[in-house]
C-alpha cells in the first residue's frame, strides 16, 4: 500500500494510552467513518485541519502531539 503523504501520526499510541480507545469510538467522536480513522492511522489519508484538530481534542493534546511532519534536510 502506498503512502501518499509524509505526515505521520501517533493516533494508534494515543488510542492505546487513552483506555484502549477503539477506532470505532474515535471515529464516532470525531464524526468520520471507522475506515477513515484506519486510513489516517495508516498514513493513507491526510485529514482536513478541522478533523485533525478534532482528533487532537479527543485526546486532549496539541495537534503536534498527534500529527508530525518531517523537518527539511539541510
Amino acid at each position: 500500500m502506498g503512502k501518499p503523504t509524509k505526515v505521520t501520526n501517533s493516533i494508534r499510541y494515543l488510542r492505546f494510552t487513552h483506555g484502549e480507545m477503539t477506532q470505532a469510538d474515535l471515529a464516532a467522536r470525531v464524526g468520520v467513518t471507522r475506515q477513515t480513522v484506519i486510513a489516517i492511522e495508516q498514513g493513507r489519508y491526510s485529514p482536513s485541519l478541522e478533523v485533525a484538530f478534532q482528533i487532537a481534542r479527543v485526546f486532549g493534546v496539541p495537534l503536534e502531539d498527534v500529527f508530525h511532519y518531517p523537518a527539511d534536510k539541510p
Binding site: 500500500m1 501518499p4 503523504t5 464524526g31 467513518t33 475506515q35 477513515t36 486510513a39 485529514p47
Partner: protein
Amino acid sequence: MSYEERRTWIYAAIAAMVPAVYAVIMLGRLADAGAAEISYAQPLLVAIGAGMVANFLAGMLIGAPDRRDERDVGIFRHGTQAGYFVLAAGAAGVLALTLAEAAHFWIANALYLAFILDALVSSAVKIVAYRRGF
C-alpha cells in the same frame, strides 16, 4: 469496507456487466447486417434502464448508507474528475463521428461507450483511492 466503497464496487460491476451483455447482442446483430440496418435503439434503452434499475436495487440491497465523511466526499470528487476527462474525450469522438456523418448506430453507441468508460474510470480511480490512499 465502507458503504461508499461497496457502492463504488457495485457501480463498477454493473457498469461492466450490463454493457457487456448489450455488446454481445449488438455484435451478434452486426454479424448479420450492416450498422445502418441494425435495430439498436430498443436494446440500448433497455441497457441504460437496466443499469439504472440494477444500481437502484443494489443500493437498496446493501443497506442504508452510513456516515459519509470528508474522505468519501474527496474521493468521490477525485474519481468524478477523472471520469470527466474520459467523458469529454468520448464526447469529442462522438462529435467527430457526427461530423463524419457516421451511421446513427455508431454515434449512439459511441456516446453510450463514453458514459460507460466514464463510469468505469471514475469507479476505478475511487477504488484505488480507497485502497491505496488519497
